[in-house]
Amino acid sequence: MGKRLIARHPLQAQPGGERIIIVGTGETAAVAFEYFRRDSPHEVVAFSAEEPFVTHRTHCGLPVVPLEELASVYPAAEHGVFVAVAFTQLNRVRRRLYHAVKAAGFDCVSYASSHAVIWPDVKIGENSFVQEHVVVQHGALAGANVFLGSGTCLGYRSVVEDDCYLGAHVTVGDRCRVGRASFLSTGSCIAEGQSVAEDCIIGAGAVILKDTAAREVYLGNPARPVGRDSFETFGVTGG
């Protein structure tokens, strides 16, 4: 092993693992399972979904337990949880399930790839997922329930608030702020110092050169609002 130039982030150097349950049984859950299984100290012991969505007794070879019964089968004191849901309903489903498992007494674990470069002073909240080749620079902050896709870069002192989903190859410049529950699609770019407001959709490859307004959809380079409501675009029900 060559000497690493940059110290590992605490998330990448956790000494002991937990037994965890992945909430979700879709494609995102299968992807999260691979990452946790192969590249984290945690041991995935089961999957869980809300009762109406439990269609199979097993997923990836592990039991699927209705969320309503989770704490009675896997006690919260001895198990962690990761909610593996993508940006469905503008991150509302992930947020709702995250709060449901918190209310049931569980702590959520986060994952950071061993192939990511994360400055050791960076703060990352619960139930966040950081994929390979991500770079998070000095002083940046990511909230709870945040997804950072492959090759994404967060510039120094940038802030990504809770419930955001950033796809692959997203560039967030230095000192930017990304407001709560926003969705930044593949290859989008936020110029340094700019703010993306809450609940925005930034389309693939869109380049944000000035602050955005909340609940808007932006496309193109330079990005322009297309005059659509983000809730309507992503079918948010119940706000």
Partner: protein
């Protein structure tokens, strides 16, 4: 504790390849790149180059024998040597044509995946495919034969890249996408989640594709729009 140390998420595909003696088919720029990478970062030993009659010029290439393609099977028989076709796909589809010649002569073709690639263990990679450093190949990605993937490119989970594609540097292909046969994706281009790029398309550098494309067209811009140029007239 799980099996994280014994079975890492990312497989070093190249270090698990069997290795052997390799003949590079081609003697130009591409062959020089392939030679350098196979020599320094693969279990293969390059023993010769080969080219068609019109491209020979000398008996040696980089200090190794340069053999006419027509005579290759006699000098380096397919059972004992593997081949890698390193030729441009434009303007004459030479890479595919030479690959077909080499395959019909009975050769197995090697693929190269840089040891600095992140490739999840369940990724499938075809023959005669070349993946440069810092690429990320996620969960269940499938890459066909005769594909080139540039440095820093991300191919998202469950995406498919069909045969004969060229994917440039720092391209972002999102999850669940399908890239059809013989496509050219210029550097920095970007394909949104679950979008299909049809067979034979050219994306100029920096193109952002938000919806499915039609086959055999040139696209540019953000969002992508079809270009007036014909695919055959588009240098790449």
């Amino acid at each position: 504790m799980t099996d994280r140390n014994s079975v890492p998420l990312a497989a070093r595909t190249v270090s698990t390849a069997p290795g052997g003696h390799l003949v590079i088919v081609g003697a130009g720029e591409w062959a020089a790149v392939a030679f350098e990478r196979f020599c320094r970062d693969s279990p293969y030993e390059v023993v010769a180059f080969s080219a068609e009659a019109g491209h020979l010029g000398a008996d040696l290439c980089r200090g190794l024998p340069l053999v006419p393609l027509a005579d290759l099977a006699m000098t380096y028989p397919p059972g004992r040597y593997v081949a890698f076709v390193a030729a441009p796909s434009w303007p004459s589809q030479a890479r595919r044509r030479l690959y077909d010649i080499v395959k019909s002569a009975g050769y197995a073709c090697a693929s190269y995946v840089s040891r600095r690639v992140f490739a999840v263990r369940n990724v499938q990679i075809g023959e005669n495919t070349f993946v440069h450093e810092r690429a990320a190949l996620q969960h269940m990605v499938r890459i066909g034969d005769n594909v080139i993937v540039g440095s820093g490119t991300c191919i998202g989970h469950n995406a498919v890249v069909a045969d004969d594609c060229f994917v440039g540097q720092r391209v972002a292909i999102s999850g669940l996408c399908r890239i059809g046969r013989g496509c050219f994706l210029g550097a920095g281009s970007c394909v949104d989640a679950a979008v299909s790029v049809a067979d034979g398309c050219v994306l100029r550098p920096g193109t952002v594709v938000l919806k499915d494309t039609k086959p055999d067209l040139v696209y540019s811009g953000n969002p992508a729009h079809p270009d007036v140029a014909a695919v055959s007239a588009c240098p790449r």
